[in-house]
């Protein structure tokens, strides 16, 4: 029978009538069963299967499952219902109900989804923070609540990458380190904000799908390009309106008059003298130290990266625009009689070009990819010959999803996957005190393929039977998640 739980509100508490215990449940808390909870005044089912159904009658928006892609449409192309592993229970004996194995007939082809929740001691998150600001040196320790939870890894284009979690921090350190790491991973994976402090660097608040907050200041935009690229993109727009442009960038500062783009427009030499190390004409490395000032450098006065102008080419009245790679910082100067730059009000058409840089910068976001490996015991819950499941995944006969969201399965041994946490339903991640994360994982395949890889055919349930025993509800749209 279906459990059509309803609730009555008493103050901020709600009363659940899913069973005769009739728990009063406070906001953010669960009832005695740990299955029903009060989420912002709404009774939600947190433990058992969450079945997604595409029914507009519910009036809710759904997390898309497998939209697009080249997957064989005969198997699971836009099914009406997809069973997620959230609340399926883990495969560890006698702790919780064992996983469900669901079969569904779609377009006459029997499909099997093995639904389980994996306990991942070997897991972590990769965080991409869109910012030019200096967050800290590569390999520096990243801390939450004072505990080491990961490290700074590479800088990518306009972004700083962090690698958090992993077995070393989860189980290799002190008990507190493990617990804090587990909390950090779970909060990040559930799209909650987490404050991270980087040794020798900045403090940053990270929340998947939201702008990073670096040292208390919300980042707005991602750089349009490096300083050199910015010169290349805007050289034509500056031509004839200003004599010199310097795009300040911690990585590659660009100088219009020396840059190839300027040369092509016959822009005259200006006698500018840059600090730092010249890479190629008009491109300079290390004009300052990294920091949270202009273009990811530590400077607040852009003139500090210039030497004296060369009197042979420079002339009084020469005009110069200095701008950062996001357009967030900009100043306009004219050389005085002594060839010293003096700040002046920026002409409107140069202001317009700075705004154009800003407009071309995408919103800065934090993105969080959960990464975990499906280990032996988890695979054993799916088939009596676990390695065949791995091979089946590699051969693309079996599709892996996490909470219904598409995953990237890393090539090589085992089933190591990554998933964008913003594509997963709210509250998809849990934990066990060991500490380890509990994440949903589903394997979907043809029924005949399931039999071939040694599946537990006797326990395959038709989808209809799950729908009778589980609550079917549309996934609520949580702000920041895609729908």
């Amino acid at each position: 029978m279906s459990t059509e739980a309803t609730s009555a509100a008493i103050g901020d508490k709600i009363r659940c009538d899913a069973c005769p215990v009739m728990c009063y449940i406070k906001p953010g808390a669960a009832g005695a069963c740990d299955r029903y909870a009060n989420h912002d005044g709404q009774l939600v089912r947190v433990d058992p299967h969450i079945v997604l159904e595409r029914t507009v009658e519910h009036g809710g928006r759904l997390v898309p499952f497998q939209s697009g892609g080249d997957w064989d449409g005969k198997l699971v192309h836009q099914p009406d219902v997809f069973v997620t592993a959230i609340g399926a229970g883990t495969t560890y004996p006698d702790y919780k109900p064992a996983p469900f194995i669901v079969s569904s007939e779609i377009d006459g082809v029997d499909m099997v989804t093995v639904v389980t929740e994996g306990i991942f001691s070997y897991c972590g998150v990769k965080v991409k923070i869109d910012t030019d600001r200096y967050l800290g040196p590569e390999t520096a320790t990243v801390r939450a609540q004072g505990e080491a939870v990961g490290h700074v890894t590479t800088s990518e284009y306009g972004s700083q990458m962090l690698s958090l979690g992993g077995v070393h921090h989860l189980t290799g350190g002190s008990k507190k380190e493990g617990r804090v790491t587990c909390d950090t991973l779970m909060d990040l994976s559930n799209c909650k904000p987490v404050e991270l402090a980087i040794d020798g660097g900045a403090t940053v608040v990270v929340q998947a799908g939201k702008a990073p907050i670096v040292n208390g200041i919300a980042e707005e935009r991602m750089r349009v390009g490096c300083g050199s690229a910015t010169i290349g993109m805007f050289a034509k727009q500056w031509h004839g309106k200003v004599d010199e442009v310097v795009v300040v960038d911690d990585h590659i500062t660009g100088v219009l008059s020396e840059h190839q783009a300027g040369k092509l427009l016959d822009i005259a030499d200006t006698g500018i003298k840059m600090k730092g190390r010249r890479s190629t004409p008009g491109r300079y490395f290390q004009v300052a130290d990294p920091g949270t000032g202009w273009g990811g450098t530590n400077i607040s006065d852009p003139l500090s990266i210039l030497g004296p102008f060369n009197a042979r080419e420079a002339r009084p009245g020469l005009t110069m625009l200095m701008v950062s790679t996001t357009g967030e910082h900009s100043s306009y100067y004219e050389l005085d009689e002594a060839l010293r730059p003096v700040e002046r009000e920026m002409p409107p058409d140069l202001k317009f070009s700075v705004e154009r840089i800003q407009e071309n910068c995408e919103p800065a976001l934090c993105t969080v990819l959960f990464m975990g490996g499906a280990g032996g015991s988890l695979r054993a819950g799916v088939t009596d010959n676990p390695v065949r499941l791995t091979r089946s995944v590699k051969d693309a006969l079996t599709r892996v999803t996490s909470g219904g969201a598409p995953v990237y399965v890393w090539p090589g041994g085992g089933i190591t996957f990554m998933v964008d946490v913003t594509q997963m339903p709210a509250g998809a991640f849990g934990y066990v005190p060991t500490p380890a994360l509990v994440a949903p994982i589903e394997f979907t395949m043809r029924l005949s393929d399931y039999a071939a890889l040694g599946g537990y055919m006797d326990y395959v349930k038709p989808l209809a039977s799950i729908r009778e025993n589980a609550e079917i509800r549309p996934m609520p749209l949580v702000p920041g998640r895609r729908a």
Partner: protein
């Protein structure tokens, strides 16, 4: 219409899974196929409506138990009270402290009444009722970390042992604890007795007033908790080795008293990676004897 519990087999095809509201049972019986089927049918029959039965007296079940009298009527409710009563004179305890063990006992009782079983167990979220006929035994594993393979220790319970109930209580479980124990596992003659005693001993593993322990009134978390405004443990911070020992020793004192009173057959108390085992004096043939103690401590 009667609300039906969920009744199904686990994927191994041997164990029965029964779930209704907060009750979650794993059941397994060993006997001939016909006897097992009869036992499982009896379990499912008895389970249906059991939660409703308990909920009829839920208000009374959540009150502090009287050491002698009870107005409770239901057979499971009265068993819960009987298990809690020996502690009621000295501690705060409600019959709810023994709900899991008492339900497990009830289902096991229905099974053994309906069929001849070699052995059987009903595991209610870690509170377990056992049935053992002559010559049979159970190997019971204690796990430190459920995500890893390997047991911390295996105990053997034979038909000759008086133990027929095992229960575990601590601050990580679904119900609240007044103490700080990670886990207290108790062996007793019945599951209901083990359940009540595990609750009381886990409460006694404590460091009152310690700054690293975060406590909250139970009813601020669950408004209708039987513990009312009593402070329950939410978090335990760093403790020194001697503090861990002090807390465990406080719980062990309580456990020794329970053993001496004949309420339990033994207990293993665990906090921050350390374990103390309490068992009857000279208990060479008990499930938790001396060399196992060492294994536990060094695990």
């Amino acid at each position: 219409m009667k609300r039906l519990p969920q009744i199904s087999f686990l994927p191994d095809g041997k164990r029965l899974h029964l779930q209704d509201g907060p009750i979650d049972l794993i059941v397994e019986a060993k006997a001939s196929a016909n006897e097992v089927r009869a036992a499982y049918e009896a379990a499912a029959r008895r389970f249906t409506g059991l939660l409703d039965e308990l909920c009829e007296e839920i208000v009374e079940l959540r009150q502090a138990a009287d050491p002698v009298r009870t107005p409770l009527k239901g057979v499971v409710a009265r068993r819960m009270h009987a298990a809690a009563a020996p502690f009621a004179a000295t501690c705060f305890i409600t019959p709810m402290a023994a709900v899991a063990g008492s339900v497990a006992e009830e289902i096991l009782g229905a099974m053994t009444a309906a069929a001849r079983l070699d052995r059987a167990y009903v595991n209610n979220g870690g509170d377990i009722a056992l049935h053992l006929a002559g010559g049979e035994q159970f190997r019971v594993g204690l796990i430190d970390r459920p995500d890893r393979e390997g047991l911390m220790r295996t105990m053997v319970i034979g038909a000759d042992d008086p133990v027929r109930g095992i229960a575990t209580s601590g601050r990580h479980g679904r119900s609240f604890s007044l103490g700080i124990a990670d886990a207290v596992t108790v062996l007793a003659k019945t599951a209901s007795q083990a359940d009540a005693a595990a609750t009381i001993i886990a409460n006694a593993v404590d460091l009152p007033g310690h700054a690293a322990i975060v406590r909250l009134p139970a009813n601020e978390i669950q408004p209708d908790s039987d513990l009312g405004a009593r402070l329950v443990t939410r978090e335990v911070g760093a403790l020194s080795e001697s503090e861990v020992e002090l807390a465990l020793e406080a719980g062990a004192d309580c456990a020794r008293f329970c053993v001496a009173s004949g309420l339990i057959e033994g207990a293993a108390l665990r906090l921050h990676g350390k374990t103390i085992v309490v068992e009857p004096r000279g208990a060479g043939n008990q499930p938790l004897h001396e060399n196992r103690l060492e294994d536990l401590v060094h695990a």
